[in-house]
Symmetry: C2
Subunit: 569 residues, 2 copies
Amino acid sequence: MSNQSNDLNALRHSAAHLLAHAVSEIYPTTLLTIGPATPEGFFYDMLPEKNFKEEDLPLITARMQEIVTKNYPLEHTQIPKETARKLFAKNPFKLELIEQIPGDTVGLATQGDFYDLCRGGHIASTGLLGHFKLQSISGSYWRADRNNQPLQRISGVVFFTQQELEAYEKHQLELHLYDHRRLGKQLDLFSFHDEGVGFPFFHPKGKTVINVLTAYMRKLQEKNDYQEISTPTMLSDELWRKSGHYEFYHDKMYFSVIDEKSYAIKPMNCPGSILVYKTRPRSYRELPLKLSEYGHCHRHELSGVLHGLMRVRAFTQDDAHIYCAPEQLEHEILTIITMVFKMLSKFDLHDIRFAISTRPEKYMGSDILWENATKALTDALEKSNAQYTVKAGEGAFYGPKIEVVIQDSMGRSWQCGTIQVDFFQPQNFDLSYVTAQGTKQRPVIIHQAIFGSLERFFAIILEHYKGNLPFWLAPVQIKILTVTDAQKPYATQLYHTLKKTGVRVELDSSSDPLSGQIKTAQQDRIPWMLIIGKKEAESQTVTVRYHDGKQEPAVLLENLYKKIQESSL
Amino acid sequence: MSNQSNDLNALRHSAAHLLAHAVSEIYPTTLLTIGPATPEGFFYDMLPEKNFKEEDLPLITARMQEIVTKNYPLEHTQIPKETARKLFAKNPFKLELIEQIPGDTVGLATQGDFYDLCRGGHIASTGLLGHFKLQSISGSYWRADRNNQPLQRISGVVFFTQQELEAYEKHQLELHLYDHRRLGKQLDLFSFHDEGVGFPFFHPKGKTVINVLTAYMRKLQEKNDYQEISTPTMLSDELWRKSGHYEFYHDKMYFSVIDEKSYAIKPMNCPGSILVYKTRPRSYRELPLKLSEYGHCHRHELSGVLHGLMRVRAFTQDDAHIYCAPEQLEHEILTIITMVFKMLSKFDLHDIRFAISTRPEKYMGSDILWENATKALTDALEKSNAQYTVKAGEGAFYGPKIEVVIQDSMGRSWQCGTIQVDFFQPQNFDLSYVTAQGTKQRPVIIHQAIFGSLERFFAIILEHYKGNLPFWLAPVQIKILTVTDAQKPYATQLYHTLKKTGVRVELDSSSDPLSGQIKTAQQDRIPWMLIIGKKEAESQTVTVRYHDGKQEPAVLLENLYKKIQESSL
């Protein structure tokens, strides 16, 4: 831990004391329990005589500020447990804590009249604590045990400077404003309903984005010789038992019965893909055989952890299974990593990190197979100049893998893609191909997902772009606005011309003033507005206004078409 | 019934006698039961001492031909039942029949030595029966009752002329050769597996066709202002109870349990679409709101009726729900019919018939609503010059509908699209829109599917085209062949150029003689071969060879590109 984070911990812990100090002045009967620093800020768990409400926070905040102004020095001393028992005689929580601390003494922190049991680790005085904010009141339990006394937790954040506090608050506001669930509703992209908890309903604009994401990935895959398949949503339990998913994944699977036989609703696409591989003998000439599938999978999640499109119970994977000879591994991995870089840069995601998980204690497959595969992964990452770390021993029992982690425009990290080598299923399903020499050989499978889940990736980029999807991906790419109704005929003609070429275009048919039309288009996050006034109509041009407010006047239609083509998928 | 079909019935029935005649000569102990004409041909159910086998058919056929040559006249007389009982004393089946015939006499047919109980209806003599073919031996039961004596059935067909018989046999052979299940395997398009009975697995080439079909329909829908949505695969029983599907469709639905609540795997997309409609208030300005969905639906079928892609347990509908004001019905129906014509002609299906099903005895919705809706359907069909029939009283209780029936290149009829007006669900789910006057109004729903099921439509056109899908739809559109390896560099370059433009192209990398390469490409049903010899390589041209064998020599590349563009989707 660095000094700075030690200091920040001290600041946060001291702010918890400050909070407790203010509360015990305003509500002297409140029983204090514990108040630690957290990775985000601080909290204090308390038992008030009367429950705190959100409305109480300003009063508590004001008293905390007063104590800051008084700039009490923070003192910390060791006192005999005997003394401590007297000081905290009325607080059974503190008494319990005192008994559990080893030795004959306990630490006591003092600031002005206020004292608290404390291990130590403070800043110099309360004057340094001015840049805090109380955030929330929530329920908790003594020692975080549901069987114990329920308590109330007041949480907050604190910083060394006002600037830092303001930056934090701005960031929080952004996270709120650009929460994909909020944007999804605002922009009419998708919805959730009680009739299907955790299952997204895509509205036309949201479905357009999903379709463009799919079209983009299909194109990328086609260029790299992937071949798309589709396999059933429901497959018999027997298959899932054979694949091992039943044993390890059973709790997350949904089941149904057909003709008195149990079927699972697929949580992954692998077994289906493997059945397609096995429909006929395969030759070395077909390898690497890259079978992709936009498979719609269902996996159970507890209702409490469902979170918009980020965590759902049904999602579409941009899945692929590469069946290859062991000696083709490195080349194939390199190709996938190149696709990952290409895809992420298309979405303006440039902070990309990889992690290799290597052979765990329990594993299957020969040592030489593991060594070669791990070397193939490492060499591929090296050759692509990728930043990566090694998670030693964290691979699955059936093969090493690479995970892709990105950082978005709001500084958050997301795991997107996975590249998993698999020695197990080829053996389990007795897969083979015929070599040039006519012998039978076992292929290796690479499981690959680049977006991961289309739904989740949609959520990530929606937040990453703060709702302003780029031109090629936006559900409505262009809106045509007219200064007066006199330009409507020209506007309508342009609308139809653009629509015919496949552009996702709208025409503002209202007679609102231009400023109102612009405001609406901006609220709808439409990347390009084509503004048509008298001049434009006469000269058969448009003024292009971008979402950020920049304008390009008098754009000739042929230049507009060229611009559109250059900016399209 | 026309005279001709009466004659044909007489011919078929007489052929059954001919069969029985031959059998009783060769296997005199065989007990005959009944031998009627069928809509396809004829059969005779018998109880032989020793079961017949396929190998016995040539012998029986030969004896039948002998009897034909003898040209026995067919005589029919009425005889007393008493006489009949003596004639058939050893045959309990015939004795049972004699007792059931009303009156004191029964009919007896005689040809040469052979006689049989018979109601009558014969041709003049056995000499007319030469153009027959025995087809199969199968199991049956006396009086078609599983509790009765098992019998053996020999079936056959018969025609007036050898020409007719040959045409029939050719047609049968075609039906066999172009059976989509056979083509699907031959061309590596799809497969079925015991792990998911009735659920198709699409291989790369089959999935390509499904994707092109989808792309085609999306384009057609976009032009007509449809907006695509997607809704969950699993929705709670409550919803299906509310929609009425649970009550009426329960037997065909699969179920699962999530968080102790029962969910159905969707058999249709309507309830999901309706929930999307209801996510926010709708204005008259949005109507007609056309929400399309390529919904993956599951419906139970008995395992005995599953038939390749024609009848499956999971399929994708090109579904759409049009929410419109009642007065918009006719215009919307007209638009859909226009789309139907457009789509079918794209697939060279020109024999199209429509049927309107009108108000049944039990119905909901006001009489005026029904009248207007039925008039809207009729007027729309009239305006589009469509051939149609009226199925009076055959509509669903919730609205009238139009069915689309096509005839394929092998003369078979298929129901494809449906256009169903629905007054029930809008009321059931309390749907509304706000009118220009600010009042609330109930919309009507049109359920629409043009392909119907993508899987089934794929099967239909695969058979219709006898495996030779047109250029725009074929999974591999072009294959490049070279006369010698010297042309490989030019061929490879052309391959990459074409691939980049999105053409589905293959390069024959073998060094087989050209004739062998052509044979392979023809077997793979590839529409265009580009043949490159010395001359083509030197002049930077290609010879285009079509699947039917026609060739176009020395085609300049720029003309080839133009040709491709014109022939593409």
